[in-house]
Symmetry: C2
Subunit: 241 residues, 2 copies
């Protein structure tokens, strides 16, 4: 049986580390986010995190069951950060769009962390709050339960999928050793036009466009589709007459 982890809410004794810093779940997650940004998505290790916190690596196991548990906490922090200060306006389309863009932006602003967490289900507080919020927007807009769940599924998966993909390509260049960095220039831009005529003719445009995200476009397409399926009031809308 490993050491039990005390939930943050029940911590009483806050014993400072050898060098005087007082640990907390929040401080550890913040430090981990900083390390990920500085050392890349593979640069978060228990040893280094301990070093950065001036604590023994094994101390982390007083706060998290393991590195995976810490990873989930990091992911939940990103979601929390995404919806910090957000409040629904009651206009479902605007609210949904805002939630999607905020979540996507939060992940993309911490790409190295997002790579580790975007496709995980944390089951922690902030994730639950976000899910509840999306479902509430749709239910509040009058969608029946089945449609709500279907739309929620497409919406959240599309958001997380693009967040993960965009984060992955942003995270690679920071780890300068990863050779993927300039593969578009070193490989795609130099292909022989006789064997790859279509790539060759598009190379310049490709290298320019592939660095941007296709998420906003895809999101609006989804919202358009949702709008068309939305339950209307009995009255016919005025524009028709």
């Amino acid at each position: 049986m490993p050491k039990p982890v005390v939930p943050e809410a029940q911590r009483r004794r806050r014993r400072p580390t050898r060098s005087g810093t007082v640990l907390s779940e929040e401080l550890i997650v913040e430090t981990a986010l900083r390390m990920l940004r500085e050392h890349g998505s593979t640069g978060l290790t228990a040893r280094r995190l301990g070093l950065a916190l001036d604590a023994d690596p094994s101390t982390l196991y007083r706060y998290f069951r393991g590195m995976d548990d810490l990873t989930l906490a990091i992911g939940d922090a990103l979601i929390g950060q995404a919806l910090e200060g957000w409040a629904p306006t009651g206009q479902w389309r605007h609210d949904l769009r805002e939630v999607g863009l905020r979540i996507h932006a939060a992940y993309v602003s911490h790409p190295q962390a997002a790579v580790l967490t975007a496709s995980r289900v944390t089951g922690r507080a902030n994730e639950l709050a976000a899910d509840e919020a999306v479902l509430d927007i749709l239910r509040g807009a009058g969608f029946p339960l089945r449609d709500t769940v279907r739309i929620y599924h497409a919406f959240i998966d599309q958001t997380l999928a693009f967040a993960a993909l965009d984060a992955a390509s942003l995270a690679l260049p920071s780890a300068a050793l990863d050779a993927d960095e300039d593969k578009w220039h070193s490989t795609y831009a130099r292909l022989p036009a006789d064997r790859y005529p279509r790539i060759a003719e598009a190379a310049r445009l490709l290298t320019a466009r592939m660095v941007t995200s296709a998420y906003p476009t895809a999101l609006d397409m989804l919202l358009d589709s949702v709008d068309r399926q939305r339950p209307r009031r009995a009255a016919v809308s005025p524009e028709r007459f």
Copy 2:
């Protein structure tokens, strides 16, 4: 300077390993795919792969520059497998849909491998061929270069993004130790209805739906959008009259 890697095409001497098996790039990738399926996405290690091949782990470095290079080769094999036997029909929408579904299906059929590779740019032969094919479909349909590149970007990113996300959730249950497996049942289905009313009312539908992929729907939405932007011939299409 590390040992140089001899390209597969130039290999002359095929010296058998101690136990008699003859190595090749293809055999190594196949074995790696099998190990990934059996041991999960974190179960591919140089030592284990060497064991499975009856070869010393360091031998792998005669074929790949490192585990990362091997990972890219695995990804390229998935793309190759996706388009194996495929040929364009000349109907752009049908062809594009087929390519998307094939790539998605290939990744999802090797989820543990897909997790490692779906968001990587390999720059290898099969990837280049797939990109060339997609660009050719769009150019052949008459799209100008700029539109072609824009559509290609949205199409390929959406395909890979969903492939990565769907693969990730499929890969987790196989590694039975990962606790994410039944988080939907252990957490979401048991939330208190007073704090999470929307999740609670949708729990049953959510657990049923979240195991399926939203990709086909999203793909058709994209194709609809593309269809509306397609350049028409000068003549007005017959249905209008």
